[in-house]
Amino acid sequence: MVLLGIAIIVAGFLLRFHPLLVILASAIVTGLAAGLDPLAILTAFGKAFNEARYVSIIWIVLPVVGLLEAHGLQERARGLIAKMRGATVGRFLIFYLIVRQALSAVGLTSVAGHPQTVRPLVAPIAEVAAETQAGGLDEDEREEIKAWAAATDNVGLFFGEDIFLAIGSILLIKGLLEQYGISLEPLQLSVWAIPTAIAALLIHGFRLWRLDKRLARIRAARAR
């Protein structure tokens, strides 16, 4: 019965109901199915919401991003890249992927991110590089390039951070295994994140290289 909440989440997201309402409905149904009274559910939800406030403090960077954008940050980034020979969106994003993985691997996960680096810098640079490569972009292609920038940031973060010893997921694994009487040092765990990190770089890098090829084909088709 408690799985009803999961069904609501899946159905709600598939049917594109308002996500905030779906989450609340799922919490209420799950709680009721587990025998909690409505007030206890609301209390538990409120407590968890207050404890998770740190998730939302990242938005304090927006005033700085907004100030710089109003003074031409994106235009300046475009100007620089347009002057650089051989700068392609694929090569640039592979470079960003490596930097993001390396920073995450030494524990610097919050240094970059969607509000901090992707919106002000990575997405506009990728956009102008792709524009030059393809000889102009239509609306859908522009959207796709921005999405590539965001996706690359995620891949770099996820498959870099576990190499760091003191990241939450490594500590969670250590803690759980200790409950079963298996004692491991964080280093013994984090080295095994390296093979996957390399595979992620190869797979995502290959897809970015193919993106460059595709943009070149678009240009050739438009020139004809």
């Binding site: 996500p19 905030l20 989450i23 939302s56 938005w59 235009e75 498959f159």
Partner: protein, 311 residues
Amino acid sequence: MITLHWVYALAGAVFAAFALLGVADRGNPRRWTTAAFWALLATSMWAGDALGDLGNGVLVLGLVALGALGLGRGNGVVPADVRQARADRFGNRLFAIALIIPVTALAGTFLFKAAPGWFDAKQATLIALALGVLIAMTVGCLWLRASALVPLQQGRRLMDCVGWAAILPQMLASLGAVFALAGVGDVVGGIVQQAIPQGSLIGAVIAYGLGMALFTMVMGNAFAAFPVMTAAIGIPLLIRTYHGDPAIVCAIGMLAGFCGTLLTPMAANFNLVPAALLELKDKHGVIKRQVGTAVPLLIVNIALIYWLAFP
């Protein structure tokens, strides 16, 4: 000592400024609901600990109601020709200011740990990030000769682009807590245990890797899926029955879960929030670009567990 609560106070002030500027934004057809939404979030940042658990629950109801009514966007876009002229005038200064935040976060992470009496070392990066924002805002206003209202007004504009999606990650984290309270994980673990084929090592490895990815997609978070799947399959089968190396099974199993994170709208802060922040028309545009990396990488992870953990 400077702790996370100082950062909450700063965040509260920023959200309160968004609310006040939002009320004055006559270009926004829904300026009252929009402003009320950010005002409630400011209240949460400032007074969350004083409200009590039930009070916070009621605050959440208010946020959800306002979000469901619908928030709007208003004025404030600087025309492209003005931006271009300013870009030509200010040049690389703009990059220098943009780099203040990451550089301060980087330096603070190390320096604050060296001064544990002054800063809460466990939260060093978040405190340093907030400090970086303050420095960048001050330097930016002075260097670009902008009034202090400009960053707040432009920040308000970007915040309105994100809208109610801004609290999705926090809401999903709270839902996870309710799931844990209701024992959802134990039930899922029981079902998984019944579903896997008996006596097949490769079958058990696939069930573990795939189970991590799928349950992560449902929960939006590999941290929630990991204890469930590891207790149901990882420990009893892969480690105890087939004598797999626990470090390899668990470390790569977690990463199989991360592949699931790339595929789900439930991981809102990674997948939906950037789509809103980059003003994409397709909310799932970021996920679509990630499928081609996540699926092959999940197969690689399952293969790695099979090859490396069972010599």
